[in-house]
Symmetry: C3
Subunit: 433 residues, 3 copies
Amino acid sequence: MTITRPAPDLRPARPARPAGSDAARLLELLDSRPPAHSLPGPCYTDPALHEADLSLVWQRQWLFVGTVAEVPEAGDFLTVDIGTASVVVLRDDDEQVRALRNVCRHRGSRLVTGSHGCVGNIVCGYHHWTYGTDGRLLHAPQLPPTTDTGALGLRPVHLREVAGLLFVCLADDPPADIEHVARVVAPYVAPHQLGRTKVAAQVDLVEDGNWKLTMENNRECYHCDGHPELRCTFFPTWGLSDDQVPERMRADHDRYLAALADLERRSDELGLPHGLVEDLVDRPLGFRVQREPLDGAGESFSPDGTRLVRRLLGDLPEARLGRLGLHTQPNAWFHFQADHVVTFAALPLAVDRTLVRTTWLVHEDAVEGVDYEVDELTATWRATNEQDAAFVAGTQSGVADPGYLPGPYSEAEEQVEAFVAWYDARVREAVAR
Amino acid sequence: MTITRPAPDLRPARPARPAGSDAARLLELLDSRPPAHSLPGPCYTDPALHEADLSLVWQRQWLFVGTVAEVPEAGDFLTVDIGTASVVVLRDDDEQVRALRNVCRHRGSRLVTGSHGCVGNIVCGYHHWTYGTDGRLLHAPQLPPTTDTGALGLRPVHLREVAGLLFVCLADDPPADIEHVARVVAPYVAPHQLGRTKVAAQVDLVEDGNWKLTMENNRECYHCDGHPELRCTFFPTWGLSDDQVPERMRADHDRYLAALADLERRSDELGLPHGLVEDLVDRPLGFRVQREPLDGAGESFSPDGTRLVRRLLGDLPEARLGRLGLHTQPNAWFHFQADHVVTFAALPLAVDRTLVRTTWLVHEDAVEGVDYEVDELTATWRATNEQDAAFVAGTQSGVADPGYLPGPYSEAEEQVEAFVAWYDARVREAVAR
Amino acid sequence: MTITRPAPDLRPARPARPAGSDAARLLELLDSRPPAHSLPGPCYTDPALHEADLSLVWQRQWLFVGTVAEVPEAGDFLTVDIGTASVVVLRDDDEQVRALRNVCRHRGSRLVTGSHGCVGNIVCGYHHWTYGTDGRLLHAPQLPPTTDTGALGLRPVHLREVAGLLFVCLADDPPADIEHVARVVAPYVAPHQLGRTKVAAQVDLVEDGNWKLTMENNRECYHCDGHPELRCTFFPTWGLSDDQVPERMRADHDRYLAALADLERRSDELGLPHGLVEDLVDRPLGFRVQREPLDGAGESFSPDGTRLVRRLLGDLPEARLGRLGLHTQPNAWFHFQADHVVTFAALPLAVDRTLVRTTWLVHEDAVEGVDYEVDELTATWRATNEQDAAFVAGTQSGVADPGYLPGPYSEAEEQVEAFVAWYDARVREAVAR
């Protein structure tokens, strides 16, 4: 685990503040929300409040943007857009993973394009200003002799790796609690050894909805009847306490409980952490982690639950390890199985458009066509994501309707309330600062 | 004629008010308009003033949305969008036509999609909340036991049927004068017996212009030289008093007057009301109704004026009944012939985009391919609508130009002035309230 | 050289003023710019500040819109869009070139469409109001008898021809200094005799960037390594003083200096003005003019520098006359060679979209397929424009990034600074008025 700090000689990011009136309006809307009800419509549809979200939440919190498997070699980079901001995450010549603003210090041109690539130096295509992979300005022709080129490096962005997961923070002074989260979460994730994985597939899907609708959709399985492929192996009572399970799901839940007990026993034997740790609301980097069983063969997201990749991850001795589920606020969720990992990052494109980037990781030595087929590996979540995109688009349309009224969450939506409560708390903290 | 009232136990619609500054700006623009001149440019182009139109006009007035022919059986529905609001109009199990907000009371998802369909219950696709066709919440899994599900029915919308024409009003307390309008208009429309018609065709056309330009375009025949198909049977001196008819149109107008006298005589014999009633400006549901002759054979909108449908409507004994013309403010116009009816609803999609939904109704027993051909039936108004869409788009472009100045209406545009005066009066009433 | 003045009986253009708060914000941003640095991000991305640009700059300054070659005969017109304003430039029946607002005085419809055409009278397609080519209202049916039709002519726009170049100004009281600029520039341009040219090709290219980025891109050759076709004949040390030329360009520059000396000698022999006159910042119609050599054969923008059109322009006795370069602020640049002319007009479509209209003129007697091939003639600038469009789009994306900071101009970007300083001065003048 390493942490990248910005070089001290570079100018800090400019403070990002919404207009006071927009922040006040957002607080008023949050105040108006009855407990355990969905947010008022403008929170999902008003462009000015979306700008407030970007500055009050997205430019202050730790955001999941990818894994070390996406930047395996020196010079490899990935890019990620957060609103209109673009960040380059790259492995520099010292094998350090860094994050930099993807903006030339000359006249502001984008530097690298495309979601992934590899560079020796970072060369702006416009006037050929050239930066090292550490961001330092190496070459800029015909500058006035008095120019302080040392102050013209690419602006750094805070980056923190947690067991191979890469988080960035656009703030000057990021929340410190990522250290605590890393300490708790890393032992769960580490056995899957992301550093020895490779990207088998990545899909960028644009959902026609506000980012909070994307997240709320992810935080419950109350709608899982709408996911026939996922229902093969995903126990639908996820998020319900025993006394909340409805009668029609009782048999499923009993099967879940039996599988959970068995998984816990075997995890203990293998020394794999599995117990639920949930701290979703109170801390900046809210999270939830637990190893949970899968239905059927219990190994992976295939129709019958058997593994989708012959080669298992890391040194895992067996395939039937269910899924290690991880949620982080505000923008990610993960499933770690014995045979593969799926990561999901939600990234706001506009008030009513959100990118969901889904990445499937397999062992670096797994051979496509021999150990796995990409279509099979990705089938369940490709279908599920498309179904979710339709749910999100339908909800965006409805919450934009003047006839919409916030409605009550069911008992199956406690994690949705946790997400909304987290959002409410972060907005209030940011406005108060 | 039946009226549907909202159930008293449901929460009222939230009040819709534009920002005070937008309303003030709109009034200032209206004040600046010289008499009988077109509106200032921002009235047609400013997104904030369009929001003001939606809240000051569209969410307060009675709007034509369809006919009983579109919802003939229990469970049949149509949907209509008014700005970002969507309304479901459906026939419930008691054969009552109702209107409901098309928004789930849970987290706001759209309920039904598509312009028409048929349902047993209304089931939200997201989490399967289930409503009866009367809007009551029948089933919502896993709600907390204390939830008052009786308060979670779909929000009702006022609906009023007038001789088969369906009007809705989004306000809590709709203008009462629809009762008066119904008393006057129903006797004109009733002989065409919409309850015994069926939809032969419906076309949704998006005009690239503000809704007021769509309405102004409809309210005059000063541009009818641009409608060669319509000119075959539509007398172009429509809206002109005898002394306003220009010399070049004198022969047309004399033919019109002769045809009118003949039509009036025969209408009297058949007991069909025909005289002009015009009350366009002063009342909320401004209207104009008159039975008027068509040129040529005088029966229908065909090239030679002969009927387009062999089977006549209702019990009408003859085909040569011209057209019963009906205008309602703010959003509709109608032509009722002996053989078919055409209805037009204008609905705002954005400040510069307006949906025109055109529907052709024929006798429910008329057989396509035997009694009528759809292409022939719809040819004149399909062509005319496309021509009007081009006029509206060209005007939208021009009124957005800083070089635009409001210009004077001709004597042939008194109905345009009536529409604009109606709009002016309704805005002032709403702001004053 | 003729000047067209508006008829005095027509109403003046309405004053165009941005909201005071937007103007104040723009000034604040301009104040924040360090010397010789690019503009703050919102200047390129904020829609309200773009409206301020339109009213403070585009509706006040002289704008290049085309040449006499585009309107050779009576009734010929071209149209040009400036923001949402459309202007018709046409040759009237007295062979006078005029400019008129392209908006009907009745209800605002666009009058003529398409970039070029020919009319007898200007007839509105909507209600057939008919105007002469001088803008007077000739016919409008059924107007109330009291209507003052003399006051309903098309609103005139100031137009000034400079040696065949057409400039318009939307202000009531245009800057007077076009007279001075015309006196200086006309002798340079006149020998190319635009009045005896024809349009060989015209390309409208939409760049996905703010108009100022388009202009800044044009005002330097610091990026000319990105223009392989142009580099064949365009000396890349353009804009550099001798002591600013970097070592790697020394050989190129020496070749340039030799070619320049040779060109100056021959120009003097032919009586062609050639010396640099630069007055880019202080006057409303900032300009720069100079005859400069081309590389290779020195005749035209072909791969080896030889002429692209066999027939030379006007009475020019030889082909090797390099290029007469002309810049005007805010929106144009020109290259006049012995064999052809290329004109470029930049026109704002939206805050982040700019039209670049490029026109190639050849002698009116040159025969396509015999004297020139259109593909060859246009190859270099079609390719160069596409490359520039990519640079502009990449910069638009970057300056919209909250991570963008204005950066320092190099010594090769003095003309960029001149453009920005001109913009800064015009904004301040307009706000102060």
